[in-house]
Amino acid sequence: MNKKKERLIKYLFTALAFSSLVFLIGIVLVLFKEALPIFGKVSLKAFLLGESWYPTAEPPEFGILPLILASLWVTLGALVICVPVGVGSALYLHELAGPRQRAVLKPVIEILASVPSIVYGFFGMVILSPFLQDTFELPIGLCALTTSIILGVMATPTVASIAEDALSYVPRSFREASFAVGADRWQTLTKVIIPAAGSGISTAIILGMSRAIGETMTVLMVAGGAAVIPHSVFDPVRPMTAAIAAEMGEAPVGSDHYHALFAIALILFLITFAFNIAAELISRRFRLKLGLAR
């Protein structure tokens, strides 16, 4: 009798454990089901490469190239900040900070990661954008540059904490071997430790990109919202997430516009999914290389 109960409980836990997988599959199914109707009206190629996004015009135009380019621009801009600052602070924590500094600085990074995105958006809107507008005498403060800066700050803690994990996996013996042949700390760091942790650090960068490209509220508030192909970093832009969040409330359920927004979400999901899988594969190879395979 007891055995039966034990087995039942095990089955129950097994079933519940698959909930994440069920939700993930559910998300994919919903996105495909709601996105596919638009491709009956617009070809995939015209959708992806079309240069004008006028979903409410008559006749409507559903070309999301400006949105894709906007997302890429602001994400690449964010990388300029979050890669050096994130990797640099991971190296600092790993290499230079003593235990007492670490006890303060690691929480600082974690707390920075927990600042809500709406607060970043608000900060960008009321503080950073007027500041940049005055400093560079821009016609408009809400633009790709402002967005990139904020996204870069937001992605920094992601990059820093994952890169720091990767560095901590590098065995002590690597460092000792390097010192033993006469290298100083900087040489050991740049020629031994960073290459050894290289793929772990690239995982960190990929996940930072994934964070930046999927960020919604910040870009919705700060990017400026113009759905045109950007020509300079001072142009207002409309990244994919912002288009979805801003237009979903106005698109009639079941309309072409509605399905087009789901199609944007599907493409966004596929991009972040690819990033996450790439990060997973690279970090697995990294662990194998250092003999840490689980």
Partner: protein
């Protein structure tokens, strides 16, 4: 000084600058929001409803709404998340199942928040017919919180020494008895950390509730799980993008941002503190 010493010195200074940038980012955000937000926060701001088309009064209904949404999300995600962590650590399933589950948890954690919103809109609001409501918003936020709770619970369960499991089994306890009476109590503080972390995450999320729960203005307080609610993060967004009195609204948005920031940061600091103490006990 030799050339390589100079290089080392410069390199280390650069790393220090990077670390300092993090501190500056955090300090800057807190400083600027607090400097202009503190003036808006007073007792009336915390306890009154908005008045005069959002130009005066407080944000009490938004605070209450955020509380309900967060509570609902945790009630939904906690049992699921802990069950998943228990399965992964205690029932040690076959290799490929662990891999599939780990990959799906990691990917769920990486899904953009607005995509959760669309999922919630399609499944909870429309397909299940919950409408734009606390229930729909909580379920959507719960899915988003799931990966956080799973990984914190997993860490807590793994930290429980194998020897006390074996001691319990040796005394004739079954596996479920061991989990329920020995392992879970020992892992409780760690699981609590996960819950607190996810509270911080969920309370600040905006995009998932845009189409599933939030309204710019609702008269009075929510009276059923199926009513629309105001929520603190959405309130900030709405104040900045809707309405006709930008100046007064910005002042209220400053107060709301400071309130939300204070709430989320103190919750995360609490979680970090509990976890640090926890790790110390196990290492000692």
């Amino acid at each position: 000084m030799k050339r390589r010493d100079i290089v080392q010195k410069l390199g280390f200074s650069a790393l220090f600058a990077c670390m300092a940038a993090n501190v500056l980012f955090l300090g800057g955000i807190i400083f600027f929001i607090a400097a202009r937000g503190l003036g808006s926060i007073n007792w009336a701001f915390l306890t009154q409803a908005p008045r005069d088309s959002m130009t005066a009064g407080g944000v009490a209904p938004a605070i209450v709404g955020t509380f309900y949404l967060t509570l609902g999300a945790i009630i939904f995600a906690l049992p699921l998340g802990v069950a998943c962590a228990i399965y992964l650590t205690e029932y040690s399933p076959k290799g490929w199942i662990v891999n599939v589950l780990r990959i799906s948890i990691n990917n769920l954690a990486g899904v953009p928040s607005v995509v959760f919103g669309l999922f919630g809109l399609t499944v909870f609001v429309k397909y299940m017919g919950f409408g734009i409501s606390i229930v729909s918003g909580s379920l959507t936020l719960g899915i988003l919180a799931l990966p956080v709770i799973i990984s914190a619970s997993q860490e807590a369960l793994v930290a429980v020494p194998q020897s006390i499991r074996e001691a319990s089994l040796a005394l004739g306890a079954s596996q479920w008895e061991t989990i329920r009476k020995v392992v879970l109590p020992a892992a409780l503080p760690g699981i609590l950390t996960g819950v607190i972390l996810s509270v911080g995450r969920v309370a600040g999320e905006t995009a998932p509730i845009l189409f599933t729960a939030a309204a710019f203005y609702v008269r009075g307080y929510p009276d059923s799980p199926f009513s629309e609610v105001m929520a603190l993060p959405y309130h900030i967004y709405a104040l900045m993008t809707e309405g006709t009195h930008p100046e007064e609204q910005t002042a209220i948005a400053y107060g709301s941002s400071l309130l939300l920031l204070g709430l989320v940061l103190s919750v995360s600091m609490l979680a970090i503190y509990i976890r640090a103490r926890q790790r110390k006990t196990y290492n000692a």
